[in-house]
Amino acid sequence: MSRTLAPGGAGLRTRRLPAWTPVGVGAAAVLLAYLVTAVPGAGGPVRTGVVASLLFVLGLGVLSRVVEGGRVARNRIATTLVYAAFGLALAPLLSITVTLLSKGTERLNGYFLSVSMHNVGAFDDAGGAYHAIMGTLEQAGIATLITVPLGVLGAVYLVEYGRGPLATLIRFFVDVMTGVPSIVAGLFVLAFWVLIISPMLNNGRPEYSGFAAALALAVLMLPTVVRSTEEMLRLVPGPLREGAYALGIPKWRTIMRIVLPTAAPGIVTGIMLSVARACGETAPVLLVAFGTDSINLDPFSGGQMSLSLYVYQQAGVASKYAPGRAWAGALTLVVLVLTLTVAAKLLARRSKLAR
């Protein structure tokens, strides 16, 4: 696009502001905002930023309107707002990252990772999250063991076998079920497992357990695993299956030996993402595993902690050491979740099936 000015504005081209205008207006807005808000009592960097942004939009809009006309001015304002929206979203991400790193590293060390809260009073400068880490790993592990066969087979049904109203119904409710709140999944397992099944196994007394938490996490993971696996299976080229059929290989073997291995990296990506989500869930674990201060490695009996629940519990303790423990737990949790997420994304990039 040429930026030459049409003589007298009478040509086909309208007059355009030079390319450096937004930068210039921005600098002027910041300067002006600083002067206005630097008056004692009116300051604060946030307020300077807000005033500068408003001045920038206003200044650029008016300038563009005068020189370039209303349509171009509106376009410039829209562009500014769209980029501003992006900056607005990055601000909390930045703030959370900085807070996590600064507060979380205060207590995060080998000691924190290797001891539990057993016999640690709320006001002791001690304690760690070993029991919580083990709980999270066990619960997420069991949930994965339950979900993966069910979810992958379910997706196989939807892609390879499912026809007619049953498949349509299942597909619809898989989508709907991805929106079931985690607390409802927790209440469901509370009503079904903790209050009805577990008394039968435990002399009539209901019992919280890590396994119940794993069940609740499985309920949350199942629809996402089915959905992502289904999408990956659909990407497997049809001729690959037809080739196998032509060689006389039965359908189930074709699925097990050809379709699933081809889609495997994508399926694993989906599973890892759903595991990462499950690790971060607090509400269902709170309802059915209840938490404990000591190390309980037996997922089938007695309350069990999880990292997210540990963070929530420490957040509720009124002690000067509790926030440090909560943030250290939060940092551990985020590192765990992000490792899974990033590994899953990297794996997805290596998948041969184009999206």
Partner: protein
């Protein structure tokens, strides 16, 4: 759609043919078993949905029977006292107002980001920037809650004081403080949490806009914004609505972040700034620890209401998406 052509399985195929037909017996028995297993696995989803409804109803009934107040209109929660008195009026109201405010804050920003990623930046840069938004989605809700309570509360309290001083005549900003855990704080945290979800969904919608429409608009001399307003947004409207509803479904059910940032007060009030706010989900998390059997049952009853609401919201959103998909499919 090439796998559509594979509907006939070898087992279904006619066995009369040259070579004496396909071998029957063990291998095809396995085929039947495998097919059965897959069908059962697929149906598990339906079983779980139905089971959630049944078990929640069964366990909610004792408390609903024992309740001496109207479950839908009583605003307070004394489910553990005898006789138990509880109702969801206040927490249902809190759920709706917190989620609505969060969507109001999040949707414009999310649509802006989605437009930025699809129509304003280079594709490679957009992938990197989109990754950061996805990172925001990966942060567990308890971390959002902790951050909101310990760090965001300060700036939000300043904002509350400013709003009250300058716009205090609006009832929404009538709260005179002290400013701490308020509906405003909870809604802002919630907005940040649903932002990546709505962004991801609307981004998909905007990517589907036919390029011909966009190019036609530009060829007619439209500026980029006019192109978006006349080609992208109208085409994506059903998709945006569906995305907003899916985000709303998420917001309605969010628990821990709101348990940490709302004031857990049982009253129906439009005051956004003062200590207050409570939601069905947060109430369950906060009350569960000290609940007796009837109290637990009462919490399950409120969870049943939440389940019903989110089910309706999600089903509506999905139906919109499905109708649109059929429409797009027939147009292609």
């Amino acid at each position: 759609m090439s796998q559509r052509s594979l509907t006939t399985t070898p087992a279904d195929a006619p066995t009369t043919g040259g070579g004496g037909g396909l071998p029957r017996g063990r291998r095809f028995g396995v085929e039947r078993v495998f097919r059965g297993l897959a069908t059962v696995a697929g149906s598990t989803i339906l079983v779980i949905i139905v089971a959630i409804a049944i078990f929640l109803i069964v366990k909610a009934l004792p408390a609903l029977r024992a309740n001496s107040e109207n479950f839908f209109t009583f605003p307070s929660w004394f489910a553990d006292s005898s006789p138990p008195r509880f109702g969801i009026a206040a927490i249902a109201f809190g759920t709706v107002i917190t989620s609505a405010l969060a969507m109001l804050l999040a949707v414009p920003v999310a649509v802006g980001i989605a437009l930025c990623l699809t129509h304003y930046t280079h594709r490679r840069i957009a992938t990197t920037l989109g990754f950061f938004i996805d990172l925001l989605a990966a942060v567990p809700s308890v971390v959002f809650g902790l951050w909101g309570r310990d760090y965001l509360a300060g700036p939000v309290a300043d904002l509350s004081a400013w709003l009250h001083a300058n716009l205090g005549w609006i009832p929404l900003f009538g709260g005179a403080g002290p400013y701490g855990r308020s509906i405003l704080l909870g809604s802002i945290v919630l907005a940040i949490m649903v932002l990546p979800i709505v962004t991801a969904l609307t981004r998909e919608v905007f990517l589907q806009t036919p390029e011909e429409n966009e190019e036609a608009a530009l060829a007619l001399g439209a500026t980029r914004w006019e192109m978006i307003r006349t080609a992208v947004l109208p085409y994506g409207r059903p998709g945006i609505i569906a995305s907003v509803m899916l985000g709303l479904g998420r917001a309605l059910g969010e628990t821990i972040a709101l348990a940490l940032t709302l004031g857990a007060v049982y009253n129906v009030s439009f005051d956004l700034l003062g200590t207050g706010g409570n939601t069905i989900a947060a109430n369950i998390a906060l009350r569960f620890g000290e609940a007796n059997p009837i109290g637990r049952s009462a919490l399950i009853a409120s969870g049943l209401v939440l389940f019903a609401i989110t089910l309706v919201v999600n089903m509506t959103a999905r139906l919109i998406i499905y109708r649109r998909r059929e429409f797009v499919g027939s147009a292609a």
